[in-house]
Symmetry: C2
Amino acid sequence: MTETQIQKMFRSHSYRATPQRIAIYKYLSEHPTHPDVEEVYQFMLKENPNTSRTTIYNVLKSLEKEGLILAIKIDNERIRYDADTKLHGHFRCNGCNKIFDFLIDDIKCTGIDDFETKTKDMYFSGFCPKCKQK
Amino acid sequence: MTETQIQKMFRSHSYRATPQRIAIYKYLSEHPTHPDVEEVYQFMLKENPNTSRTTIYNVLKSLEKEGLILAIKIDNERIRYDADTKLHGHFRCNGCNKIFDFLIDDIKCTGIDDFETKTKDMYFSGFCPKCKQK
DNA sequence: TTCATTGCAAAAGTTTTGCACGTGC
DNA sequence: GCACGTGCAAAACTTTTGCAATGAA
């Protein structure tokens, strides 16, 4: 996504396209490694040593609220973020602690037919192919 | 579940059956409302005013580690706990903030065939039948 | 008796708040 | 120019740690 496209996206959500917002969104979309607040903060410090943690919290919270990014709560320790908002699952390996994306083809549920579903999050955990051999 | 059964369950997991553990587990299984640390603490205070928050953290963490309870991370603010460890989904209503349980009949995924899956968590959000009318 | 577990107090870590200043529109 | 957003420092809140005392097995 180009900087101009990101700007347009923010403006269509009535957000000002500040350099900080653009940089954070760009970082998330170019690093689909599901980083947490601290990783985003450390990256932003490199760009501008005056960056404040408050800004990271503000930006991530507002982007999540507006549905532009996902908050991934698969980890007990920290919330991770993902700029890919298409429906997909997350697998956490207990060996290497990495998060893997996977496709969700179909889900069949009972008991929420009359509910209005807005978001669907799916978290699996276990061992990835490499770690299960050990 | 009777107190004796809970005791046996703890012992079979090499946990000592302390009154605190039993009371916390009993509270969770009798109150399937997905309470958080603070709610468990407030309940325990009524039973014994000397209860420490540390104990709540210790007990919930160890029970979760051993798979005797589930940690539900559907809420941004707090982790909730559930003594029902059978596979089921959780729906969070953005209107009344309640958590509803639902059945998962089938999930079809692509990309993790070679993974060894130990846990499956599914979180939906949106509006419950009552709240969607407003 | 022994050692896991508890409760307390303090420390560490995380997130929010209040406010002055700066900047996108 | 105006309102939104940022950065800073402090406050608030959450969770962990170290340790002495307790009590389950």
